[in-house]
Point group: C2
Chain length 284, copies 2
């Protein structure tokens, strides 16, 4: 068999090539590329495709990777589908209708603390991100890059210039008020039980009190405007999605539902098609 | 005495008017305006100056507030000189050579938890900020606004477009890695002793370990480029200043000094004239 396709089945770009080959009824072999150890950036693979992206089609020793932008994804997300920070990046890419290759980083075997991943994120956290030459980490820096670099795609996630400072305020509120509080609760109430660890009830009570205070401010804000940054959905809202989704699966949902404007906002943003696609990844 | 100047002596804009009156040898009365309770936004003051900014000169019942931008400051910072978040905003305004009115919020009598301040920052934190009609809170949203709105003034604090995503990464690293760790240490080692509270030694040991890990990553980054965002000083560096300054007054300074690139970077950014001016405020 001469025809070889180098790629991975969970890559949307490899899948596109696979579909074409199946449709044509061509006989071929799928050669897996281990993205998490960076095989696609090693000399052997780069000799096949100097851009270091999958898939590559090899016919009798001749490599074919076609028109770069159309044949292969140039966006890579290294992360874990259960990581809320990774989900934040997924949500943004789906809002922008962008194709990307997802590279699973296996947290259970501490793959995120190994050299290949540390080269992508020196803090050993997920996600990490590549868009061509642009290598980034920190989920909110990634969503900011995607929103500016792909301004014309899909949903505009940035407010118009004059309203940008208000969007910034609420992005900072998410980072410094919402995330520290809900992040603790997600850890205690969702992840600890999932990992067989014991929830610290004292921590929950304290964070729950803080959550109520934070949500009171959100209720007042959302009385003034439909979304946090104004009348349009922006990154300021999007960044909240993963933790809200997690907490809606717990009794803590009641704090969101007790506040009518917060409740309506949560329901609205969780129903966005881009977010629904992210959630579907969890059940695959 | 017919001539009245409504303002406050610690306002740079009132001071400018005062100097002019003293130089002219004019007889006048200084009428204090209580900015922290928002007296400058009340009907009585707005009747004198519809922009709600000090100073206002009143001559025999006729109000004079001159050319708005030149006579009065339009930028107000509501905060506390000892608050690291307030210092972050000061540093940015000085880098941009902008005049501003500082309104002290007395934390010792919980002025930040009272309605006038809660209307400025619903979380009851300092600083809050006004730039004409633009009312903001969250120090990093304020510095972002100032950097974009006054792009042409003083130091350019934003990287050029292509390098902006990397600056964003390090702004996020400051917010999610550096601040949580150093913020805890500043609280335990600087503020608690100052307030007569007992330092939690266990917390210090744990945060110190985390600080070393974080600084290892900074050392590697600062080996690659002079500043965090690249070869130029940007907001990514500026945001670190208040906590670095605090910790350099403690034995924890050793962790910064043990890493040559981190040490050089700290010394460089702490010596910036804009930052030196902020520090001078503390000793007034």
């Amino acid at each position: 068999m001469a025809l070889k396709l180098y790629g991975v089945t969970f890559s949307t770009c490899t899948s596109r090539a696979l579909s074409a080959l199946y449709e044509k009824g061509v006989d071929f072999e799928l050669v897996p590329v281990n993205l998490s150890v960076g095989e696609h950036k090693q000399p052997e693979f780069l000799a096949k495709n100097p851009f270091g992206v999958i898939p590559v089609l090899e016919d009798d020793g001749v490599s074919f990777f076609g028109e770069f932008r159309f044949f292969g994804c140039e966006i890579f997300v290294y992360g874990n589908v259960f990581s809320t920070a990774t989900q934040r990046v997924f949500a943004c890419l789906h809002e922008k209708n962008l194709d990307y290759d997802f590279v699973n980083v296996d947290l259970s075997i501490e793959e995120h603390k190994q050299p290949p991943h540390l080269a992508r994120n020196p803090f050993g956290l997920v996600p990490a991100f590549e868009d061509g030459d642009m290598k980034l980490f920190e989920s909110r820096a990634i969503t900011l890059h995607v929103s500016y670099a792909y301004q014309a795609n899909g949903t505009p996630l940035m407010a118009e210039d004059k309203k940008m400072p208000i969007q910034s305020v609420w992005m900072e509120v998410e980072a410094h008020q919402f995330e520290p509080t809900t992040g603790k609760l997600v850890w205690e109430v969702v992840f600890k039980p999932m990992l067989g660890m014991t929830t610290d009830d004292e921590e929950v009570v304290e964070s729950e009190k803080k959550l109520e205070e934070v949500l009171e401010v959100y209720e007042a804000r959302l009385k003034e405007s439909k979304y946090l940054g104004g009348e349009c959905f922006t990154l300021a809202d999007l960044h909240h999605l993963p933790n809200i989704q997690c907490l809606f699966g717990t009794p803590l949902k009641k704090h969101f539902e007790a506040r009518p404007h917060v409740k309506a906002w949560c329901e609205d943003i969780m129903a966005r098609p881009a977010w629904v696609k992210v959630i579907q990844k969890l059940s695959v």
